[in-house]
Amino acid sequence: MEKILKRKKMKKININLMLIKGLGFKSLFLALPLFVISSCSSDEKQTVAQFTELVMQDEFTTDGAPNSTIWTYDLGTGNSDTGAGWGNNELQSYTNRTENVKVENGYLLITAKKESFNGASYTSARLTTKGLFEQAYGRFEARIRVPYGQGIWPAFWLLGANCDEVAWPQCGEIDIMEYRGQEPTTVLGSVHGPGYSGANAITKSYSLLNDRFDTGFHIFGIEWGPDYINYYVDDVLYNQITPSNVKGEWVFDHPFYIIINLAVGGNFVGAPNSETVFPQTMLVDYVRVYKK
């Protein structure tokens, strides 16, 4: 089942890539994305790589703690680098306890709970590949079912591996998927860099029609080359960010690592309220990274 899904998806992505390059359009329906993409002036000269070599994958097939050769954890409520609340006034304390993170039945489960823990009112988990898997360029994708509710903030994103040496946002941040639990039909993809970070990040949302993100799995991915980042959800390419789109230096030219987390509260979503149901669980079916 997984294999078939993958093949179908790859084929569709390839079609999109062909369209970007202007190699051809097979029908009126397929031509539609072309207009969107071709409105970028750099398209004619741009080269888009096809990332087909799988270099990292976690299918979450072994029950228990996540694979420690791939994943490590950010713990607590933030540190001196990020500031309290992970720089966003988030309300959770991250743990690596089984209650908050585990692999079960082929999925990675990250669970946000409402409980007092080390001074925080919520617990959750944040997994990273920092020091374990870092790569510049490639296709990064994950198949995820997000949770829901006011104040629930799951994300699948990349952070520059040099963020310890070069302060954020100079080190760069690529948000492949962010989602507000109170807007269950919409996800966002963004980049943060010098001169375009926080509220001024380059961002675009993608909404489902007659469907929502918390009721089924969706593939969230980017295709990242030296001078572009393509954003897609399932088989829909919904944004391309190039150096000409950012109002500052293009800093996406060095290795980044992966972060998957489920935050509670924070500037992006606001606090949970009495209507928010806890616990909330984010399910990750797989994480895969390809290179050229």
Binding site: Y148, G149, Q150, G181, P184, T185, D211, R212, D214, E275
Partner: protein, 478 residues
């Protein structure tokens, strides 16, 4: 009410037959079989009624409340207009109606009833939904809805659309005046939709609580009286809760030798013991449960022994009773108590639920000057340890209202004018207590004994008494 029960019973019988037939026959349905289906048209009111839709106002409502308005509309050429009457309007106390189709529709492909609405003021429509057909209302859905003065889209989710393969109740509402004043609201583009964004179902029974109750052998209770809801998360992120009829739920009794639940949520107590009733909708387990303890048949109150000529009886099967105006005055606005006279196992009994206070008013004031005591039998199913009942005989006919007050259980306020006449320790859950209250001298109480016309029982400490039974209320001479 009786008629309704009959319909329910008939229905379960038919379903029972069908089940028996289908398990006894293994033949598979052939490919050629075409099931009869009903039309699945989604539209109820767009710019006029869709074919076969009829308007039936509720009895007692303002019959002309509904009109088709061509001036004010959200879209197209007209909207539904509803004029809520003022308090005291002789033409009707409220606005309310059902909209029913002649031919049933298959709504199983939709997930919500949606419409645009606005009001001349931000009124709260008390009840609005679908599934009311003036038949058995099997798939009734009800919610309330706060209007704004601008057009806004409203979504009433279907608790489980797979059930709605033949539905006639397209829409219904009931709304009274706001702060005594009538107003107008409009509804337009009323239709069933498949939004695809109605998600995260969270069904609930008993408001999500786990409750334990005593019920008696042979009784039937409806789960509809136990707070059945379905909640969905909408595209807007809002959690929308609707009250859902029992037929949307699958109920499970943990002990079918004690309690059985029909497909329309009627629980019948068939044996002694304990059973926990849980529920689900579409495979999603509902929060909350009802545990019934069945000690046996309903215990009949002890039969009084005094002769008729020594008593003035207000409520008893043994004696001739004086006429009363009511056994429950439903005194607004603070009384929550429901229920009054009931017949259980052929015996008349007063059965009150949600008990906070209740009064019996006599048609003719009684002269109790010759009487020495008042006797009453009381039984409670749940027995709070802090039970504190205030029983008052009142004379509203004397120059000033006069009364004698008595405490049953305890007197947490230590009110010297209301001595404890029966200690709380003597009560047993599900067992009748006979309470004999001495009539004290007027000098102690103020009561003018020549014209007692009210007997009031109050749950003075708001103890958790859901159900209280009262029987054999009479004054007597020792």
């Amino acid at each position: 009410m009786k008629n309704r029960k009959y319909i329910y019973l008939k229905n379960s019988f038919v379903l029972g037959l069908f089940f028996a037939a289908s398990v006894s026959c293994d033949r598979e349905i052939s490919d050629e079989v075409q099931f009869a289906t009903f039309p699945n048209s989604p539209e109820v009111f767009m710019d006029g009624f869709t074919g076969g839709l009829n308007y039936f106002p509720f009895e007692g409502s303002y019959f002309q409340a509904f009109t088709v308005d061509q001036e004010t509309k959200y879209k197209g050429t007209s909207a539904m207009r509803f004029d809520v009457p003022n308090v005291g309007d002789p033409l009707g106390a409220y606005a309310g109606a059902i909209f029913r189709t002649e031919t049933a529709r298959d709504l199983s492909g939709y997930d919500a009833l949606t419409f645009w609405a606005k009001g001349t003021q931000a009124g709260l429509i008390n009840e609005i939904g679908f599934g009311q057909d003036f038949g058995e209302n099997k798939y009734l859905v009800t919610t309330d809805l706060l209007l704004t003065t601008g057009w806004k889209k409203y979504i009433i989710p279907i608790p489980d659309a797979t059930k709605l393969i033949a539905e006639r109740g397209m829409f219904w509402y009931a709304e009274g005046p706001e702060n005594g004043k009538g107003y107008t609201f409009w509804i337009d583009e009323l239709k069933f939709e498949k939004l695809g964004t109605i998600a995260q179902p969270r069904p609930s029974i008993l408001k999500g609580e786990d409750k334990v109750e005593i019920q008696f052998l042979g009784n039937s209770i409806s789960m509809a009286d136990y707070g059945l809801t379905q909640t969905f998360n909408l595209e807007s992120g809002v959690n929308q809760t609707v009250t859902a009829a029992p037929a949307y739920f699958s109920f499970k009794s943990s002990n079918i030798e004690v309690a059985r639940v029909s497909d329309i949520g009627i629980v019948t107590l068939v044996g002694r013991g304990t059973s926990k009733i849980t529920a689900s909708i579409g495979g999603v387990k509902a929060t909350g449960s009802l545990t019934v303890n069945v000690p046996g048949s309903f215990p009949v109150a002890p039969v009084p022994t005094l002769d008729q000529n020594k008593v003035i009886s207000i409520f008893s099967d043994k004696y001739t009773n004086v006429p009363v105006n009511y056994y429950n005055g439903y005194w607004a606005p603070f009384q929550t108590t429901r229920g009054e006279q009931a017949i259980i196992d052929g015996q008349n009994v007063l059965n009150y639920t949600e008990f906070n206070f209740v009064g019996t008013q006599l048609t003719t004031p009684l002269n109790i000057s010759e009487m020495t005591h008042f006797s009453v039998d009381i039984m409670m199913l749940e027995l709070p340890t802090d039970i504190d009942l205030l029983l008052t005989f009142k004379n509203e006919n004397s120059a000033a209202t006069t009364f004698q007050q008595n405490r049953i259980g305890q007197s947490y306020q230590l009110d010297p004018r209301a001595p404890v006449v029966y200690p709380s320790a003597n009560f047993k859950a599900g067992v009748w207590s006979t309470i004999k209250i001495p009539i004290r001298p007027t000098s102690e109480t103020s009561l003018d004994k020549t014209g007692v016309n009210l007997i009031i029982i109050e749950n003075i400490k708001s103890s958790n008494v859901k159900t209280i039974y009262v029987d054999n209320m009479y004054f007597y001479k020792e």
